[in-house]
């Protein structure tokens, strides 16, 4: 008498692409209250950032982006997370974003590549 095994509830996508000659693995997961994005070129998660929308009284939302693990002084990573949380917000979702970036370089081109790959395959 087996109780029916529940379906795995988290949608996710796993893809691989080339950014500036570096093989980049991107994983996106959609949890109930967060989106998780992992973009890695180094075989590890690298720096983990947390970005969330704060809804205040004013019409325009503000965003809070912070690095919670790893390099905390890389503005390009923060900018990347900020761009994505804004995109999430514009798409109508108020979920927070946890993004981990394990990249070989933090050039604008690389991060733009990451952002466009994520947006192209977004789960929101």
């Amino acid at each position: 008498m087996d109780s029916s095994v529940p379906r795995f509830p988290v949608p996710y996508k796993n893809l691989s692409l080339d950014i500036k000659g570096n093989k980049t693995d991107v994983v996106l997961c959609s949890y109930d209250d967060h989106f998780l994005v992992i973009a890695t070129q180094i075989g590890a998660m690298g720096t983990i950032l947390h970005a969330r929308k704060e809804e205040g009284v004013s019409i325009e939302p503000t965003f809070n982006v912070s690095a919670v693990f790893g390099k905390r002084d890389e503005p390009m990573l923060l900018a990347c997370a900020r761009q994505l949380i804004q995109h999430i917000s514009i798409s109508g979702s108020s979920r927070s974003l946890v993004i981990s970036l394990g990249l070989k370089d933090h050039s604008a081109e690389t991060l733009k590549g990451v952002v466009s790959a994520v947006i192209e395959n977004r789960l929101w």
């Binding site: 795995f8 509830p9 693995d25 994983v27 109930d32 981990s100």
Partner: protein, 151 residues
């Protein structure tokens, strides 16, 4: 004579061992993702394992699909002690920190663990850990016990 792929053989073995679960292993190149769910005492436990080259990310969901608290654990030199830190949430709730620590012991890799098991459910925690470790062994992510000769 068709040569059976190792994947199919392993799957057959798993099915015939009277353990029924949803098993999905997807390989997108560098990252292997394994997801499965089980029911324990009317509670659904969901597991997601992401295998990166030098790291493993694990999510344990208890009934809901919330991300939960995130912990990072790694072996630290010089004495190979394990350090665990809470990355997200976990201010008043350390459920899962122990699991993260023991996963590092078993795999020898850096671990990021996200876990939404509620506070004060040690039985559930233990069950979840048991199932997770079983799966990790099955996937070959754990390291052999007989390693080195430290006594």
């Amino acid at each position: 004579m068709a040569r059976e792929e190792p994947d199919v053989k392993a799957l057959n073995e798993a099915i015939s061992s009277a353990l029924v679960f949803n098993d999905e292993v997807k390989d997108g190149g560098g990252v292997q993702i394994t997801c499965f769910s089980e029911v324990v005492n009317d509670v659904a436990l969901h597991f997601q394992i992401l295998r990166l080259l030098k790291q493993i990310y694990v999510w344990i969901g208890c009934d809901s699909a919330k991300l939960g608290r995130i912990y990072a654990a790694a072996p630290t030199r010089p004495k190979d002690m394990i350090s665990v830190t809470s990355i997200l949430g976990g201010a008043s709730d350390n459920t899962g920190a122990g699991i993260a620590r023991r996963l590092v012991l078993k795999t020898g890799l850096n671990i990021i663990l996200a876990c939404n098991i509620p506070k004060n459910s040690p039985m559930l925690e233990a069950e979840a850990e048991k199932m997770l470790v079983q799966k990790l062994i099955q996937l070959g992510y754990t390291r052999a016990k007989a390693e080195g000769s430290s006594s």
